[in-house]
Every structure is written in structure tokens, then in C-alpha cells.
Symmetry: C2
Subunit: 341 residues, 2 copies
């Protein structure tokens, strides 16, 4: 539900488009520094070309991280080039993590095309991810004023990997009993896996631009809360979302036995034994979805996402930011998360 009177549905896509256009030349220039073969895999992953190098008709993702980087820099009064450099670094890291996560999770498709490992092979996809990772660090390290930025990026990278490790291990844990995954463990995982890079994206331009530490910390916090909210909304859509809108099969996350937030909440209620049996058998995901909703899993998830979104907005209010960019940032939060709450 979009807040009444919100301009986000109109404004945010325009903001995203402006940031993509601003960042694209620098990102393309960075990718051109890669080994040509690896560069083609990177361009494929960005949605710029098909296998073989022919230009792709469709583009890649929305570019949330690069937009956060540009807007974070602008909001902190950092020069435009700081925002662009930050955007390039976080997009490279994001794409690296998609490439490797798709291998780890066995996901064969990404944005309605074969994942890089499916299109080029597992080994080459590992290599392309490594190359993007190295390029991100190289890009930042080459800049004067880069040490704090490299520290911020490498801390986010560390969190990203820890979050992915937690997430992989969650899959092996039981639905119920002392070893079951608790909602607070999920929250910590989501903050690492999704929030850390969004926080780094929002803060990095301001760090590169030499903004006050408090400003960068607030932007980082906002991005981390956005990440958790985003992840939980994604979980809700993964169970109850309209496949025509999400592009994913109905009840997909239940069929895949994913330990998402609404599920974990419902498993802390008396329906747990019944729900665990349903989830385990996987034969009636519609009944599982109904049971999770009845146990309050859906509403608790939405309330949790709302709480993180409010915290993100509060973080942005706590420090002095350039008004126009701060408004664009808020419209982005609204567009990415609130419309689905």
C-alpha cells in the first residue's frame, strides 16, 4: 500500500533511471578493464549482452544499490564523482554476489535468463565473480581518500559472506525443537546478507566524499534497515505474492522449503507441529500458507518490515542531509518496500 499522496510510484523510477544513466559509463569503463572473456560474462550478468557478446535488448536489474550510492553521496553533500565511484564498487560487489550465490543455491535462472553458471559453466562463473570482486576493491583502492571506503566495503563483504553462510546453514536445521531457526537469527542473517551491502551503498559515497562520520553511519544504518525490510517483504511476496507481478511461481518459497520470516514466526506458535508436517511433506503449500497466516506469520512479518522501514526513515532524519537527495532517498524506500506493506 502506497502512503496516501505519495509521489514514489512516479518519482522513484525516474530517480532510478537517472542514477543508472549517471553510473553506466563508469561501470562500463570498469568492466572494460577486465579480461575480455570475463568481461563478457560480467556484461551478460549486468544484462548488457547475450552469450557471445551481442547486445541485449532488455536491461538488468533496477539498480537499487547504485541509486543508493549516488543519492547517499548527494544527500551528504559529497561530489558527484564520489557517488559514481561508490555506485560502481557496490554494483560490482552485488553482481559478484549474485553470480556466486546462484552457484551455491543451484538457481539456474536470474532475471528470466539462464544464470551465468548455467550459461558459461560453473568454473567460469566462479572466476567472473572473483574478477568482479577484485575489480571492486581495485576501483576503490585506486582513489585518493579510499582507505576508509575500502574498510567500509570490505566490512560489508565480510558481512555478506557471513550472512550467506548462515542462510545456507539454515536450510539444514529442523523446523521445530531447540535447533530450530529463531526469528532473531533470521534478522541477523538478513541484515548481513542483504542489509550490509545496501548500508554500504548508501554510506560509501559520503565516505569517499569525506562526509562527517555520523552522517555516513546514519546512511549505513538506513540502508541496513532497508535491507531487512526488503528481505522480509520479499519473503511475504514469496508466499502470498501474485506470480504475475513477482515473476515467481505461487507459493514458490514454501515448495522450496525456505525458512523465511513468516514461516519462522508461525513455527513459534502452537500450530508448529502441524505446520512443520505440512512444510516437510511439501504436498499442500496452499494449506501451509493459510496456516502461517492464521498463526499470524504474515502480519508479524509485515509489522517487522514496517518497523525496519520506520527505523530507516528515522536514521535519515537524525542527521542533516541535502533536502532534494533525501527526498529522493525516501521515495526510493517507499517504492521498494512500502508499496508492498
Amino acid at each position: 500500500m502506497t502512503a496516501p499522496g505519495s509521489t514514489a510510484p512516479v518519482l522513484a523510477p525516474r530517480v532510478l533511471g537517472r542514477c543508472r544513466a549517471l553510473v553506466r559509463p563508469a561501470l562500463a569503463e570498469a568492466v572494460e578493464r577486465l579480461h575480455p572473456w570475463v568481461g563478457e560474462m560480467a556484461a551478460y550478468a549486468f544484462g548488457w549482452c547475450e552469450v557471445g557478446g551481442a547486445p541485449a535488448p532488455a536491461s538488468g536489474g533496477k539498480g537499487v544499490r547504485q541509486a543508493l550510492a549516488v543519492l547517499g553521496a548527494e544527500a551528504a553533500g559529497a561530489p558527484e564523482r564520489a557517488g559514481v565511484a561508490a555506485a560502481v564498487a557496490v554494483e560490482l560487489v552485488h553482481t559478484f554476489s549474485l553470480l556466486h550465490d546462484d552457484i551455491m543455491d543451484g538457481d539456474a535462472a536470474r532475471r528470466r535468463r539462464p544464470a551465468v553458471w548455467k550459461a558459461y559453466g560453473t568454473g567460469p562463473a566462479v572466476l567472473a565473480g572473483d574478477a568482479l570482486f577484485a575489480l571492486a576493491v581495485e576501483t576503490l583502492a585506486a582513489r585518493s581518500g579510499g582507505p576508509a571506503a575500502v574498510r567500509a566495503l570490505s566490512a560489508a563483504l565480510g558481512d555478506l559472506v557471513r550472512g550467506q553462510a548462515d542462510d545456507l546453514l539454515f536450510a539444514a536445521r529442523p523446523w521445530t525443537g531447540p535447533e530450530q531457526v529463531r526469528p532473531d537469527e533470521y534478522r541477523a542473517m538478513a541484515e548481513r546478507k542483504t542489509g550490509a551491502l545496501l548500508g554500504c551503498a548508501a554510506a560509501l559515497g559520503s565516505v569517499l566524499g569525506g562526509a562527517a562520520a555520523g552522517t555516513s553511519a546514519a546512511l549505513d544504518r538506513a540502508g541496513r534497515h532497508l535491507g531487512v525490510a526488503f528481505q522480509i517483504v520479499d519473503d511475504v511476496l514469496g508466499v502470498w505474492g501474485d506470480p504475475a507481478v513477482t515473476g515467481k511461481p505461487v507459493h514458490g518459497d514454501l515448495r522450496e522449503r525456505k525458512k523465511t520470516f513468516p514461516v519462522l514466526v508461525a513455527l513459534r506458535t502452537p500450530v508448529a507441529p502441524r505446520l512443520a508436517a505440512l512444510l516437510e511433506s511439501g504436498t499442500d503449500p496452499a494449506a501451509a500458507a493459510a496456516l502461517i497466516e492464521e498463526a499470524g506469520g504474515r502480519s508479524a512479518a509485515l509489522a517487522e518490515a514496517r518497523r525496519h522501514l520506520t527505523a530507516a526513515e528515522a536514521a535519515l532524519t537524525a542527521v542533516p542531509l541535502e533536502a532534494g537527495a533525501a527526498a529522493d532517498l525516501r521515495s526510493l524506500l517507499d517504492f521498494l518496500v512500502r508499496r508492498d506493506l
Copy 2:
């Protein structure tokens, strides 16, 4: 052949042991900062534990890179802690590259044990490599005076990935004709894939310790030449080495159709058509080895390795270095390469 009167066979193992003992606590402390599951995979890769975490009786590799880092720092008059931090960073990067290369190359064994991807699965091995990579950057970025060091490490990382890409693509190219791999392409690949990190290892401690740029550059150059020499000697041993010493099957590299330096040299001579047919059929590696030797591939490879070793030694002579550490560095070059020339 060891140079007459050389003390390398006695001295170098002692130097390697001293450096391993010096670096081990800091390396263990860094690895402990990893996610516990990922930390176990890292400890397994270092040869410290078995699958499940039980301590391993045998240790890992010789620790060439950590020794270069410690000796490079000492030779440049940098404080000991700079050498240790450099050693930790390069060992983490080296182990990351082994983990991912074994996946890309499909190598199931490493140091007579299952490779990490065989022991823990491909996805987890990808993740563990990423975590080691991130930890290496984090370790360096956290240090004051780190920016130049991060630049040096990230440049080496970029080279490492480019070299691995070249090496993977070499496999798909023909033995003869305009598309055949030229020895100079091989040299560039080996400098990137093996030399860049050895050069970085030798230089990094001096960079962290604030040594003159000329000193760090000379150490880097020495390490790069060592890398090419080391790789070519490894190629010679892969064809003519004694399996009892190398621990690898006789003619292993020929059976695997590897485009090694002696092979590439022989393929530039009139025996090329006959050799290509032998290599392609793979049925008589002994005849292929004899033909490569007859065509001068072996002696050209040894001469090339010797040339790079001499260049490495010349690089060390060109700048003022602390005498004891420089002697240890020379004994290491001797031990690692010259004994096999």
C-alpha cells in the same frame, strides 16, 4: 642442480619454518574471525584440521608466500608486524585462489587430501574462497598505512584472475596454427597467475612498513620473476619429474594435455605436426616427452627459468637491502627453483 657450496638445502627449510612459526598465530587469529563453518573449511585448506574439525597430523604447504612477505619486510627494514600482516594477507589470498582454482580445474585432490570442494561441496568451497578473499582485504584495510598495501594486493588479485582466465582459455586453443598459444603468451599468463602474488608477497611488507617505492618495486619484480621461473620448473617436473619426488604421476601434464612451456616451445619447431598428433591422441606420453626433449623444449624451458631466476637475483641486488634477510631471500630462490635447474 644446487650451486656448489650453496647452503640453501639446509638454510631454506629453516627459514621457511621460522616464517611459518612467526605468522601462524596471526593467521589463526584472522581465520578465527570467520563464520565458524567457513572457518573450519579455511582451517582444513590450511592443513590444520580434518573435515569435522579434528586437528590434522600433517601441516599444509611450505608457506613460500608468507616467507617471502616476512623476508621482504625484513630486507626493506620494515617492522616485523608489517611482515606478519603482509604474510597473513597473501596466505589468505593464496588459499582463496587454491580453493577456487581447484573447482575451475576440476582438481579433486590437493596436498594428498580431497580438495575443499570435494570434501565440503562446490557451493561451500566457493563461499569459503570468497570469505578468505574478503578477510584478506579486511585485514589490510584495517591497518593504518594500508591504502598503498590494499592497492598492491588488489592489483595482484586482478592479475591473478586474468592469469587464471588466460590459463583456462589456453586449454581450448589448438596445438598448431595461427591460434596456437605462443611462449610469450604463456610467460605473460605465468607472470599473472603465479608471479603477481609472489611479487606482491615480497613487496607487501615493505609497502606496509613505508619503505621507499623503489625498494618495494624491486622486491615485487624479484617475486614476479621467481613466479615465472617456479612455474616453468614445475612444467619441466610435470613432464620429466620423478613421481617419487613430485608426488604426481609420470608424464601427468602430458596425459592432461596441458599447454606447458616446454610443449609450447617444441610446437614452434618442425616436429610440431608429429608432436601435436601425439599430444592429441594421448596414448604415448613417453614418446611425446622424448620428442619435446629432442626439439629442445626441455632445455629451452630450463634456460628460460634460469633467465628469470637471474633476473630475480638482479632485482634484489639493485636496491639496498638488509644483508641477513637478503641472504635468506636468495637461499629461498635457490631452494625453490635452482635445485631443479
